[in-house]
């Protein structure tokens, strides 16, 4: 599947990861162009429903990233998010969704290189997994 | 009406032949402890020894989610792609109980009340019904009280009745039935000697169908008859969805404004949202109003407006109800009310 280019949606917080991704750009670090970034005020705002929507709309993989623990702009948004991610990820795993398609990470505003590395690794992982056909096929299935 | 014998060995052969001829066969299949209709791969999958399936085969006529149309839109306008009814598969429903087969007439009435619903009619035309008489019944069954019966031929194209030997009496009721039989006429042999009646379940009638129209309208304002029965109602749609007659639906758009589909989905009068206005006003505010609507619609309104009953006495809603709301109990209560 050398021609397959994964579609990745990244849900990131405004204060750390978005700034970090900005730094990647200003530092002229090249990374995979497969990612569409959606900026949120905080990882605490990233409802699991948004992630489901991304999959339903055809995402092959998802990155969710925010400030490192203790660095949250709102003190504890990322701590709250972490618990929900854990439960959500485990539930998807239980339902038979490969959790490699759902990458959680912490990337600070200073970690431009780390962002590039995160995206590249995720893209490579998803490229190996192939398109998320199972989920995409749900759309339209069961309609007579 | 022609009467034939279809031996127990020939039945799977017959169904196999119908499949080979390009028909999708929907039949009762066992999942866990329950038996329900679904599309079968081979006749071996068909369940036996059950009283009633969880759902009727209503979904073959009126699917739980059905595309009405699809559309694409761009700057220059909208293009509607009409539903291609040609693609609806030719289907044989096997093992439909006489009550469920009778219910098809009620669906016909709803979907053809002045406005002809082509989506329904196209499916209906492509379905052949091989009914199966009931040899057993349970306390929830009350078809005979509504004028139907365990060996009723109404609605079926072919009705099979299992005989003591395990072979079947095959009654070929309609032209469609005859055409099905003619797919493999050699499998149908001479009429059996055994009488049909003694192989049917004994279901005692508990009231007369004529009483319904007499008693129901007057019961509307009798809160005592509805409230007690519906207080434990949790407001789900299980009763409506397992019902062979319930045909209420919702219309929903999916996709984007550029590219999407319009769907028809099952809906139920028991949901509080069913009648809720955008303003927040709800004509049927409380669950007892909604339960009353369900029964009034089935036993009074449909009869008066469409000339058919909205209930065939299959007892499914009573079996499916998580709160043990029993339709027969409530109907009897209304008929016996002072």
């Amino acid at each position: 599947m050398s021609t397959f280019e994964p579609k990745i949606v990244a849900f990131v917080c405004n204060w750390c990861t978005y700034a970090g991704a900005d730094l990647t750009g200003t530092s002229r670090i090249k990374y995979a162009p497969n990612v569409r970034i959606i900026r949120f005020p905080c990882t605490g705002r990233i409802d699991f429903m948004l992630l489901l929507k991304a999959f339903a709309e055809g995402a092959d993989g998802i990155i969710v990233s925010g400030c490192h623990p203790n660095d949250c702009h709102y003190t504890s948004g990322n701590f709250h998010a972490r618990r929900r991610w854990m439960v959500f990820r485990s539930l998807l795993d239980f339902m038979g969704i490969d959790t490699r398609r759902l990458q959680f990470s912490w990337v600070s505003a200073a970690e431009g290189a780390r962002w590039a590395e995160l995206v590249n690794t995720t893209v490579n992982n998803i490229r190996e997994l192939g398109p998320f056909e199972e989920y995409r096929q749900l759309r339209g299935a069961g309609i007579e | 009406m022609e009467k034939k014998t279809l031996t127990k060995e020939n039945l799977p052969r017959f169904l196999k032949k119908l499949q080979e001829d390009g028909n999708r066969v929907i039949a009762p299949k066992r999942t866990g402890e329950k038996v329900d209709f679904s599309v079968i791969g081979s006749p071996d999958e068909i369940a036996d020894d059950y009283i009633q399936t969880v759902q009727s085969a209503k979904f073959a006529f009126f699917p739980k989610v059905e595309e009405i149309l699809s559309f694409t839109a761009n700057k220059s306008g909208v293009k509607i792609n009409d539903k291609d009814t040609e693609k609806i598969p030719s289907t044989v429903v096997f093992g439909l109980r006489p009550c469920d087969a009778a219910a098809v007439a009620s669906l016909d009435a709803v979907f053809n009340w002045d406005y002809k619903d082509n989506l329904f009619n196209s499916r209906r035309e492509k379905i052949g019904i091989i009914g199966l008489s009931c040899a057993k019944s349970d306390n929830n069954c009350f078809c005979t009280s509504l004028g139907f019966g365990p060996g009723d031929t109404r609605g079926s194209d072919i009705l099979l009745t299992e005989l003591t030997s395990g072979d079947y009496l095959a009654e070929i009721i309609t032209d469609k039935g005859k055409a099905m039989m003619n797919a493999a006429p050699e499998l149908f042999t001479a009429e059996p000697m055994e009488a049909k009646e003694k192989n049917l379940a004994d279901i005692k009638a508990q009231f007369k169908p004529e009483d319904l129209a007499k008693r129901f309208p007057a019961a509307f304002d009798r809160e005592d008859l509805w409230l007690e029965q519906s207080l434990r109602c949790i407001g789900c749609g299980a009763c409506a969805f397992v019902c062979p007659v319930c045909a209420c639906f919702d219309i929903q758009d999916e996709g984007t404004t550029q590219n999407g589909t319009r769907l028809r989905c099952w809906d139920a009068c028991g949901f509080s949202l069913f009648t809720l206005h955008t303003s927040g006003h709800n004509p049927r505010e409380a669950q007892n109003h909604r339960w009353r609507q369900r029964l009034m619609h089935k036993f009074a309104y449909m009869q008066e407006r469409l000339g058919v009953l909205g209930c065939v006495g299959c007892g499914r809603c009573s079996r499916a109800c998580p709160a043990d709301i029993n339709i027969l109990e409530n109907v009897k209560m209304i008929l016996e009310a002072k």
């Binding site: - | 539903k83 709803v110 989506l119 955008t278």
Partner: protein, 279 residues
């Protein structure tokens, strides 16, 4: 392909958008296919299912008069998913329309009678159709009185037409707003519709009353009409139950033995009295 998919809408182009009141708009719609437009006919009182593709369908009456051919109009208030999507559209955009559905105001039977229209708030649109129908065939009727009330002056819809009706010598227009809803230069009445009706006390002799409004207004207007001597058969109203199919199948608008979409939306007070209170 099925030639007659009951749920397949006509495609309509939005020709004109009028802002009526906060959150209330009127669309003038023309058939995208001229032939369909030529064959289309409706009567006063009927309604349709309007759709924004991808969002869904919504039920409104046809607010324009059948005497004005070539287009239909609808007026809606932004309230839910579809109406919000409609409000975002522009002139030239395409929407869907199914209809006409439902029964009609028996305007033919009203020949030679006085007409009393009573409307509240966003319920003027269903009546506008029959008002214009009557005014365009004015000679068929005697006195025409229109009583229209809204919460505030801003909430009055069809402001231009209200002015037009006010200027007509053979139309008596009374507008009113709820107490507190008036502006300093408000010249109309102040008070709730039933109270104003009682005050102006129109004669019931040889008169039919057409009442449309929110349930609460209807509830208090009927007794006043009764007091004024109107018979139950001379009072007409429309019911606005929630609908999906519009053709008597989806079950939503079932009230008693009636389906509002097929037997209504126009009902006489005689019929309303027989209905269970589920509207």
């Amino acid at each position: 392909m099925s030639a007659s998919n009951l749920y397949k809408p006509y495609l309509m182009k939005i020709e004109k958008i009028t802002d009526e009141a906060p959150g209330v708009k009127t669309f003038r719609l023309a058939f995208a296919d001229e032939n369909e437009g030529k064959q289309f006919a409706f009567k006063a009182g009927q309604f349709g299912e309007y759709s924004v593709f991808g969002e869904g369908e919504c039920t409104f009456c046809i607010a324009s008069s059948p005497t004005r051919a070539g287009y239909i109009e609808c007026t809606f208030r932004q309230a839910g998913r579809v109406t919000n999507a409609l409000a975002n559209l522009d002139v030239g955009d395409t929407i869907g329309f199914r209809g006409p559905y439902g029964n009609i105001f028996p305007i033919g039977e009203w020949k030679g009678k006085n007409l009393l229209f009573i409307a509240g708030g966003i319920a003027l649109p269903p009546m506008r159709c029959v008002i214009w129908n009557a005014l365009d065939t004015r000679k068929n009727f005697k006195n025409v009185t229109i009583l229209y009330g809204a919460r505030t002056v801003a909430d009055l819809v069809y402001k231009h037409e209200l002015e037009e009706w006010a200027k007509m010598p053979d139309v008596k227009l009374i507008t009113t707003v709820d107490p507190g809803g008036e502006t300093p230069d408000w010249k109309g009445e102040i008070g709730f519709v039933p109270a104003v009706l009682e005050k102006i006390a129109p004669s019931s002799k040889n008169t039919v009353a057409i009442v449309c409004g929110p349930p609460i207004m209807i509830k208090y207007t009927f007794p006043v009409l009764k007091k004024l001597g109107f018979g139950a058969n001379d009072i007409y109203t429309t019911l606005e139950n929630r609908m999906k199919c519009g053709v008597g199948k989806c079950g939503r608008c079932n009230v008693g033995k009636y389906f509002v979409c097929k037997d209504g939306p126009v009902f006489t007070f005689t019929q309303i009295k027989e209905l269970p209170p589920e509207y």
